[in-house]
């Protein structure tokens, strides 16, 4: 817009995407063993993998449940999109770590690893003799994170949690939805993704601490509690007023104006809380009388005032086109944007330039375009290297390269069923149809 450019051109240069693969990875050399299924645990490890950690993922015979969770039961080249989204840059081993022979192999890997993550029922790893005490015995520096709905102890330990349970038990669902309608679950498995992100934060702190002191540790992480943590002022409000926090649609009860408005040709999200931003909005609306009345942000937040003001803005926005409101926001210094959909971001030059949408050729699945995890780091950026893999795809690489097992021994373990590969009768465990038997295979 008509605003003096104050940023040095070098900001963009710091992040040049052509140099992505020349830059170091911050977690290179960190080896993570993933004993996880579904979304939460695998996402935790995925965040680490895209920043350079070497993640080895273990699956049982049936494979990760996400091999079978996909919209409308849709599969692409045999692959479940549900499996792809939380599994990048990983090494895939078919091995049930509860099997006594597998356990020994697993412990050998623990000796050479930094982090073990599990999202099984609390205590399951202990039953297999693989809880933190056992891991620490073979590797005193190991960090183990266990994540479950309610944690490893307490009155509700042992209860099963899923994403939608965490949303409901943590009260996110009860505050999401329109004022005069029922509660609404997120359109995505948000309590899985966001809990995984906080798990990754916990692991990073433990790694930072270990870098200082050489000490590992055990981390018990609670998914439902994580949802509770993210609900901003909800708890203090209920504590102080004795009232439940109610649903308020897209209206923000703590920032005014902040809401979603209907325009002539679509919808626009808009916010302007500071006096200067609100003045800008009133100028754009040609309603300086509103500015005089509601200059004070705290006055605007009172329920009656807020409703009246939002009604006025709704009337104005109803006569505008979305792009005009967006342009006015840039000019007058308030916030306004359309609601972006998948295709908007997919095709966005902005997102591709920033490397948060990356395009690459996967040796198994061909051309891929998808998100790479933020934030964007100038020296040690995240990157996508490869996609999800068939069950047991990297058995030989992991056992050969990392444990030094000769080919005959791997073969024996396969014959005994200790390690295994995809079942040819289950397409979503298998390589894509027409796979040449070589592409994507990592040579030990």
């Amino acid at each position: 817009m008509a605003r003096e450019k104050t940023r040095p051109d070098s900001t963009g240069e710091l992040f040049e995407k052509e140099k992505l693969f020349d830059k170091p990875e911050p977690l290179k050399g960190v080896r993570v063993l993933e004993v996880c299924s579904v979304v939460l645990g695998p996402a935790t490890c995925d965040y680490l993998a895209e920043f350079g950690a070497e993640v080895i993922k273990f699956e049982g015979r049936k494979g990760d449940q996400m091999r079978y969770v996909t919209p409308y039961a849709y599969f692409w080249k045999g692959m479940s999109p549900g499996l792809e989204i939380e599994n990048h840059n990983k090494y895939w081993v078919g091995m049930h770590v509860g099997n006594p022979k597998a356990k020994a192999l697993f412990l050998e890997l623990v000796k050479k690893s930094d982090v073990v993550v599990d999202n099984l029922t609390p205590g399951r790893m202990a039953e297999w003799g693989l809880d933190y005490r056992a891991l620490r015995e073979v590797n005193p520096k190991i960090i183990q994170l266990h994540v479950s709905g309610y944690g490893s102890w307490g009155p509700w330990t042992g209860r099963t949690s899923y994403d939608a349970v965490a949303q409901s038990m943590g009260a996110l669902a009860s505050i999401t939805g329109f004022e005069d309608r029922g509660p609404i679950k997120s359109g995505v498995w948000i309590a899985d993704w966001i809990t995984g992100l906080m798990c990754a934060n916990a692991i990073l702190s433990a790694l930072n601490y270990r870098e200082r002191t050489g000490e590992g540790q055990f981390i018990d992480y609670l998914q439902v509690e994580n949802v509770i943590r993210l609900l901003d002022w909800t708890w203090l409000y209920s504590f102080k007023t004795g009232e439940d926090r109610k649903r308020s649609g897209n209206r923000d009860l703590a920032i005014c104006p902040s809401d979603l408005f209907d325009c002539l040709d679509g919808r626009v999200a808009l916010a302007a809380f500071s006096e200067a931003e609100f003045r800008g909005l009133c100028e754009a609306m040609g309603r300086m009388d509103l500015f005089e009345t509601y200059r004070d942000p705290l006055k605007r937040l009172r329920d009656g005032n807020a409703r009246e003001l939002l009604d006025r803005i709704a009337v104005w926005a109803g006569g505008c086109r979305v792009e005009d409101v967006e342009a006015l926001a840039c000019e007058h210094g308030f916030a306004a944007s359309r609601v972006l959909e998948a295709k908007d971001v997919y095709h966005s030059g902005h997102s591709r330039e920033r490397g948060v949408i990356q395009e690459y050729e996967d040796p198994l699945y061909g051309n891929m375009v998808q998100q790479c995890y933020p934030p964007v780091l100038s020296e040690t950026p995240a990157r996508l290297k490869w996609s999800c893999r068939p069950l047991g795809f990297d058995n030989r690489y992991v056992l050969g390269k990392m444990l030094g097992l000769p080919e005959e021994e791997v073969k024996m373990l396969e014959d005994e069923g200790v390690v295994f590969q995809w079942n040819p009768d289950v397409p979503s465990q298998c390589p894509p149809p027409g796979w040449d038997g070589k592409s994507g295979v990592k040579i030990p």
Partner: protein, 455 residues
């Protein structure tokens, strides 16, 4: 409750492995937290967040882990203090701010003034991390951009949080917009697929529109991503001594976790509609009405669906919707939902929970069904589990009185648990101690700065 006297059942709960539960309790006993070390207590963070809870949450996470966080506000206090439901204030802070003021040292500084700039530069020389949420270009215009600060401190991890990021096409056009949660959510894709179901004819058209998450999810996810970036950069810095520039855009934080919507578009060329409480990839996996509100219920895979049909005594449903192909269509899901609710409305959420727990113990069970009540915020505050796990911290604060805030979720780290040491501080309350400790200012100098309005 004293740790040693805690009733066993409060520790082992429904655990299948009581010995493990007891061990885990010993390792992560909340009573021991104050005596244990902190993971990041060698890290100095400057938080210049400006009316923005993404920045505040990022620095909260680091502060919970022990980082020394200096929270820099303009002399009148930051706008975020006023972001509070219905305008409720406790002293100089609203409810949102009291939650995220935790463990931070609060100072004031007018960085637009020459003396203020010098002080900030002095602090930045000593800091490991700087967080800001100004409009892109603002700090640069003051001579406090990354280029300037890197020169003074090559180890600095400079973290800029803004909707449109610090570079890229949209950043060029929209850098005069401030960063707000509603816009972060709107640009984060998740909002486009959240809301009442598009394809359910029973829903009035007026409600068929995008819906934000009820909380500040754009800001909280944005802050969690920023903290994650900072911690990876700190890990790199410990090995190389190098700092860097972190560009954290909250909508990118949401877009990155928007399930398979992007992948499905890439593979099929189609977009997902809003599904409401249905789920077109896994169903039943939904909130259903029950006698005392709503509860979650699932039975997705064939065995689990069989189990649910058995619990409801509805073998006909299993025959009518035998595989995921029938259960994942937008046409069938309202019908399945309706049939389940015919059963669940007869019971309370607790009765449903008990029925399902009893079924899960049957030797000939067909599969696993999961439930969980749809709790209100008041319900959550009453639950014993959260009390025992110390999910909330209740204190009588000298400045803010009786308050209750959510505890650090890192509190169950065995060696370096996260914690809340204090909830919040008044505007400028730590000026003297911080400026003395880090810049050696004496009372005289501070008084002069105060008189000229710099602090």
């Amino acid at each position: 409750m004293e740790g040693g006297e805690m009733d066993d059942s409060n520790i082992v709960g429904l655990s299948a492995n009581r010995e493990y539960a007891k061990w885990a309790h010993r390792e992560t006993n909340p009573e021991d937290v104050p005596r244990k070390p902190e993971a990041l207590d060698d890290t100095l963070v400057l938080d210049l967040s400006h009316g923005n809870f993404a920045g505040l949450f990022a620095s909260s996470l680091l502060a919970e882990m022990g980082a020394e966080v200096i929270r820099v506000e303009p002399p009148g206090g930051d706008l975020a203090r006023k972001m509070t439901p219905f305008g409720i204030m406790i002293g100089d802070a609203g409810l949102g701010y009291i939650v995220e003021g935790r463990n931070k040292h609060h100072v004031t500084l007018d960085i637009a003034r020459e003396e203020g700039k010098k002080l900030l530069l002095g602090l930045a020389k000593k800091a490991d991390v700087l967080i800001h949420t100004f409009k892109p270009g603002y700090l640069e215009s003051l001579g406090l951009g990354y280029g300037d600060l890197r020169e003074a401190n090559p180890g600095l991890i400079f973290t800029a949080i803004h909707t449109y990021g610090q570079f890229g096409g949209d950043s060029e056009t929209c850098s005069n917009q401030p960063d707000y949660d509603i816009v972060d959510q709107a640009r984060g894709v998740i909002m486009s697929v959240t809301g009442e179901p598009d394809l359910d004819p029973a829903v009035p058209d007026a409600y068929k529109k995008p819906l934000k998450q009820g909380n500040w999810m754009g800001w909280y996810a944005g802050g969690a991503w920023a903290a994650f970036g900072i911690q990876t950069a700190m890990f790199h810095k410990r090995k190389t001594g190098k700092g860097q520039f972190i560009d954290a855009s909250p909508p990118e934080g949401l877009m990155a976790i928007s399930n398979y919507v992007m992948q499905y578009f890439h593979m099929s060329g189609r977009q997902m509609p809003r599904a409401g409480n249905y789920d077109y990839a896994v169903f039943p996996y939904t909130y259903v009405k029950c006698r005392d509100g709503f509860t979650f219920i699932s039975g997705f895979s064939d065995p689990n669906w069989s189990a649910l049909c058995e619990i409801m005594d509805r073998p006909d449903l299993r025959e009518r919707f035998p595989s995921i192909r029938e259960r994942l269509t937008p046409e069938n899901q309202p019908a399945i939902q309706h049939e389940i609710e015919r059963f669940t409305v007869r019971y309370t959420s607790e009765e449903i929970q008990q029925m399902i727990t009893a079924y899960s113990k049957k030797p000939d069970k067909k599969g696993t069904v999961v439930t969980g009540r749809l709790e209100s915020s008041g319900d959550v505050l009453k639950r014993e589990h959260w009390d025992v796990r110390k999910t909330f911290v209740r204190v009588n604060d000298p400045n803010y009185g009786e308050v209750l805030v959510q505890n650090s979720t890192f509190k169950s780290m065995s060696k370096t648990p996260g914690r809340v040491k204090w909830v919040c501080r008044p505007i400028g309350a730590d000026n003297e101690s911080v400026y003395r400790k880090h810049l050696g200012l004496d009372g005289e100098q501070l008084r002069a700065l105060k008189e000229s309005g710099v602090v």
